[in-house]
Structures are given as C-alpha cells and as structure tokens.
C-alpha cells in the first residue's frame, strides 16, 4: 500500500518512514505543506498521514485544497493539537481519522490498515477466496488450511490483489501502490514477485488462483 507521510519534525518523520517501510508499506515522505499537496494531488495514495503545523502550507489548508480538487485518498491527521474543536475541524474538512501525538506506532499502523481496508470496501480483516485465507490484520496467509510463509514484498503484493477483490490489476497499479518511487527496481519486479507468489500459493498441484490477463495485468480468484 502506498502511503504519503507529511511531517516536518525530522526525527519523527525518519522513524515513522522507517517503521512503515519495514511493515511493507511504500512510503513517500515530505516535510513541507506545499510539497505535500503536490504529492497528494499527483498520486493516488492509499493513505495520507498529515501533520497540521507545517511550514509552507498548514495541514488543514492542505486538506481543504486536496478535497476541493476531488482527491479521495483517506487522510489520517497526526498532530499535537488535542482539543475537541481542532479534531472536529479536521474531520469536518475531510479527514478520515485523527491521532494525537505521542502515539503507539502499532496503533498508527492499525489505523492505516483500517483506512486502507475501508478505501477498498473491505471491512472484514479476514478474506477468503476459495481455499485461500488472508488475515489482513495479522498479515498471515493460509491455503487449504496450511499456513504459507511469505516475504514482506510477496505479502504486500498479495494483499493488494486481495483488496482489489477479483478485479484485474494492471502492472502500473501494482507498481504505484506497492513499490516506492525511489526504488531502483523496474516494473519487471512485479512479474518476478508474481512468479514467487504463484510458486508459494499455487504450487504442489493446487488449483491456480493468480491469473495473468494478457495485456491487462493480473487477477486473483478462481478462473471462470
């Protein structure tokens, strides 16, 4: 999942970006309000984590402009302002969640995942497709009752396919939502990781669940 982190306090920015990346999220980072707005309007983020007191353009103005431009990315406000009027104002301007500093990183992660699921209309954290079961909260995968060990990148790729719920997903979609812009990898990485996933999920004579739709991308589900 691709996340935009707009936070100007450098130590917090660094640790959050590091922690989120280690959790398999693709993270774009900026500490400036205007730059944050540019990032947010130029890309389709699964979640935007937004500080309110920013240089250049403050967080609430950024949010208002983002929504006025029709951008629907879920926004989680991360701020030291804890008063009810501040929260109400943030939520009324179009924020989807509000977290007060300091916070537990685990909670931030859980809220990000909840926002991602909500964004893909997937409220249930446990998804079952045929005999494949994916626990989106615990990040665990079973097939035919047997747990399958996936690497972080394999998992996030599978998670994205699961969230797209049987839709055909293009390579560029996967690239945009799963891998970071700064990554040196090319779009070929998508094919490589699809290959890894297939080996682990569909191997041992199981019924294939990841299908290549020629010229369009990939789809997860039973072949019709």
């Amino acid at each position: 999942m691709r996340v935009l982190l707009i936070e100007d306090y450098r130590p917090l920015q660094n640790s959050l970006a590091k922690g989120l990346r280690e959790e398999g999220l693709a993270v774009d980072v900026t500490g400036d309000g205007n730059e944050g707005l540019w990032y947010a309007t130029s890309n389709d983020y699964d979640v935007i984590i937004l500080d309110l007191m920013l240089p250049g353009l403050d967080g609430l103005s950024l949010l208002a402009r983002l929504r006025s431009q029709g951008k629907q990315s879920p926004v989680l406000i991360l701020t030291a302002r804890d008063s009810v009027p501040d929260r109400v104002k943030g939520l009324n301007l179009g924020a989807d969640d509000y977290l007060i500093k300091p916070f537990a990183f685990e909670e931030l992660l859980a809220r990000i995942r909840a926002l991602v699921r909500r964004g893909y209309q997937q409220k249930n954290p446990c998804v079952e497709i045929e005999d494949l079961r994916v626990d989106l909260a615990g990040q665990r995968v079973w097939r035919d009752g047997q747990e399958i060990a996936l690497t972080r990148r394999e998992y996030v790729l599978l998670e994205y396919l699961v969230l797209r719920g049987g839709q055909t997903v293009s390579r560029s979609d996967i690239w945009e939502h799963v891998y970071e812009f700064e990554s040196s990898a090319t779009s070929n990485v998508v094919d490589v990781y699809i290959g890894y996933l297939r080996k682990k999920l569909d191997g041992q004579g199981r019924r294939p669940l990841i299908h290549t739709i020629r010229g369009r991308g990939y789809r997860l589900g039973v072949e019709t």
Binding site: D8, L12, D51, P55, A80, P102
Partner: protein
C-alpha cells in the same frame, strides 16, 4: 464568640444591660433620696413645732402643744414618737406612744436638726430628728451648759417597704428591658447581616472551574457594594491568572508532544525487530537528539519561571551596554557571517545603565541571536543607544522582517512562533522574547517592538540609567 452576629449581639447586650442597670440605679437613688428627704422634712417640721412650744417654768420644762391636736403621738396604733430631754439630761416629757421606751438624746448644734436611723424596738425601724434648743430663758443659769433637746421619731416601715417595692420594680423593669432589647437587637442584627450571609453563600458557589462567575446579588447595603466590587475584581484577576496558567500548561504539553512522539516512535520502530549495531546506534543518536531538544525546552522554561519568581534581580551595578552588546554579538558572529549579515554597534562607550549584568546579558544575547536568525540574507543589524533623563534607551534594529503588524503584536506571547511548524523545534521554542520581557521587568526596564517602513524590525529597550 467568633461570629460577627455573636459579637454584635454580645456587645449590644452588654452595653444595654450596663446602661439600663446604671439608669435603674440612678432612678432608685433619686427616688429614695426624695422619699427620705420628704420623710425627714416632715420629721424636722414636727420637731421644730414641738421645740417651738417648749416652755420652762422654774425648774420644769413643758411642751406647750395640745396633744389632742396631734393624734399621731397617741394611742396604740401611733406611728410617731417624741421625747423632750431637759438640761439635766433627764427626759422631761415624752409621747404616750413611746410607752416605756426612750428616744435617744439627739444633740447637735443649736437650732440645727440632727437625724438618726435606728430600731426603737426589735422590728420597729424608725427615723428620728433631734433639735437642740438654747432658750433665752436658760441664759445665765447653771444648767445653761445642758441644752434642752426635742427628739421626734417616726415609724419608717412604710418608707422601707416603698423603697423595697421600688427596687423590685426597677429590677424587673431593667431585666425586661434588657431581654427586650436583646431580642430586638438579635432581629435587627440578623436582618442587617443577611446580605453578608447571601454574599457568603454566593461566594461559596464559585469554584476554580467556574471563575467566570461574578457576584450578582442586587440590593446590597451601600457599605457592602465596594466589597462586592473588589471581590469581582479579584475574581476577574483570578480567572485571567488561571486562564494564563491553563494556556501555558497546554502550550507546554503541546510543545513536548511532538518530540515525545518522535522519541516513542523511534524506540518502538527500533525495538520492533532485531537490528545491527549501527542501526541501534543511529536510533539511540536520534533519541539523544530529541532528548537534547526537550532538555533545552525545559531549561528555557525553568529560566522563565525563575525570572518570574525573582521579582527583582539582586545585583544593580553600572554597566556599559556597548561592551555587553559587543560581548553578546561574538556568539552570533559565525551565524551572521554565514548569512552575510552586517552588524554595527553605535552605542556610545560612556553610556551606562544600572542593571544586573547576568540579566542584561540574557536580554542582549536573546535579542541579537533573534536578529542574526531572522534578518534577511545579507541584511543589516544595528544597535543605537542614548540617555533620556533618568533612563537609557537602546534600539536593536534589523532589516528583512517578514512579520505582519498583527504578528508583531504577538511576539511576546509564550510559545508563539511566526511559523507554527515544528521545523525549528530544538532551536526556537517561542520563549526567547517572553523571557526578555520578564527579565527586563525584573530589572525595572521595559521592552517594546515596532515594525518600521521597509520591513525594519525594531526592539526598543528602556533601562534605568547608571
């Protein structure tokens, strides 16, 4: 008694009782004196009458009055008595009412009645008057040295009864009056103190969470209106003080939240998995950096609090601002050099102010550091100073001020920063100028800021001259 009501009532009761008792005693004394005086006047009148009728014939002295016309001296129920004492010291005549008793020979100066009180017989108190005579008929005689005395006595039981009755009446009247005045006083005092109780009840409803409330009681006695006004003033000051404290506490908590969030996040992310030594080192270095930020904030806050606590810094000595400004600028030179700033200290070397050197160093250091930070690239900073009567005025000006006029009015607010973001967290907390102002106040000086045309930011300090 601690209550006002109790004290007023006790005072009133004591005063009224004393007044009424004294009044009763005076009335009793006057009436008693009048009654006794009338009684004695009647006695004296009788004794004079009898004395006037005394006649000496040869060796015999007789009273010339007709006792038939004076029934009070006769008979069993008679209440008056007389006795005539001759020059030989023997009773020459006596009233039948005396029976076998004698009246004392009350001798006194000739022609002047002498009065005496005694019991004629047990249970029969009498008052008696004696009049000593020296008749012309006794002159030249041997017994001239033995005057003739007429003594008249009268039963005084009625008089004493009347006086007893008067005493009782006065005691009852005085007691009743005291009781009535106490009752009336209680009612009056309670009524008078009722507004005080209403005020106390209203004050009791004001707690620290509703200091915006004011005492609204109408119909207060004139004497209590100033009390109400002062209390409301006090409440207003308390409310402002509590608001300031809450805002300060809120601001401080707010300032600490971001670095705390950074530290927590750094620690949690680091501890989430096993890492290499360089990674741990890097995380610890980040945490240390954040700790230093918070330490700097806490130190500045402590300095601010201490400046507030010490209403007057102890040392006052003659200081040359020109030297101090040069000394303080030295620590800003490097930063100013990087930014290509020019600095001019035009304060005359002989200009002196009376101040605390450490306090004033803090002031100049903060102001010059601010100037070096916020002056535009390659801009200018200049300091001027002059003496105006009993004060010294120092102006620190810099070019390139980006603040609006409204923002200039906020620079002394605690935790205020032109840029609300935390990009500068760790270097500027928005506490420098409040610290400058409070320090100057404690030094007996003032500080004001103005924005002059062309974006020139001017800080004007006024200090006692040295």
């Amino acid at each position: 008694m601690r209550s006002v009501e109790g004290r007023v009532l006790a005072g009133m009761a004591g005063g009224m009782a004393t007044l009424l008792v004294v009044f009763g005693l005076v009335v009793y004394a006057v009436i008693r004196s009048t009654l006794i005086h009338e009684f004695d006047a009647s006695l004296i009148s009788s004794v004079r009458l009898l004395a006037a009728s005394a006649e000496r014939e040869d060796e015999k002295i007789e009273l010339g009055v007709d006792l038939g016309e004076m029934p009070e001296f006769q008979g069993k129920g008679a209440q008056a008595y007389y006795e005539l004492w001759g020059g030989d010291g023997r009773a020459a005549a006596r009233s039948p009412s005396l029976g076998t008793d004698d009246l004392p020979n009350l001798q006194g100066p000739v022609g002047e009645p002498a009065v005496s009180v005694f019991e004629l017989r047990p249970g029969l108190p009498v008052r008696a008057a004696g009049l000593t005579l020296r008749s012309e008929r006794t002159e030249g005689r041997e017994d001239a040295a033995h005057p003739v005395t007429v003594v008249v006595a009268r039963d005084s039981r009625l008089l004493l009864r009347q006086l007893r009755w008067l005493r009782g009446l006065l005691a009852i009247t005085t007691g009743g009056a005291i009781a009535l005045s106490l009752l009336a006083g209680t009612l009056i005092v309670r009524q008078a103190l009722r507004p005080l109780k209403v005020l106390a009840a209203e004050i009791a409803t004001i707690r620290e969470d509703n200091l915006a409330a004011r005492i609204e009681t109408a119909d207060m006695p004139t004497e209590m209106v100033p009390v109400k006004r002062r209390l409301n003033d006090l409440l207003a000051r308390l409310e402002a003080s509590f608001k300031r404290e809450r805002r300060f506490t809120g601001d401080m908590a707010h300032e600490l939240r971001t670095p705390l969030a950074g530290m927590r996040s750094c620690a949690e992310v680091t501890l989430a998995r096993s890492r290499s030594e360089p990674e741990y080192r890097s995380s610890l270095a980040d945490c240390l950096e954040i700790t230093k930020t918070m330490e700097a904030l806490v130190n500045t806050l402590l300095r601010l609090a201490r400046t507030e606590a010490d209403s007057a810094l102890p040392r006052r000595e003659s200081i040359a601002p020109a030297d101090l400004i040069d000394a303080c600028w030295r620590s800003c030179c490097e930063k100013a050099g990087r930014r290509g700033l020019t600095f001019e200290n035009a304060v005359r070397a002989d200009l002196a102010c009376a101040s605390d050197p450490e306090g004033l160093r803090l002031v100049f250091s903060n102001l010059l550091d601010n100037a070096a930070e916020y002056t535009d690239q390659s801009g200018a900073i200049w300091v001027t100073g002059l003496r105006r009567g009993s004060v010294v005025e120092v102006r620190i000006a810099n070019t390139g001020c980006q603040l609006s006029a409204e923002q200039v009015g906020q620079v002394f607010d605690t935790f205020w920063r032109a840029d609300a973001s935390r990009t500068e967290t760790g270097t500027h907390f928005g506490l420098g100028l409040p610290l400058v102002r409070r320090t100057l106040l404690s030094l007996g000086g003032t500080v004001t800021v103005t924005l002059e045309p062309g974006g020139v930011f001017v800080v004007r300090l006024v200090l006692p001259a040295g």
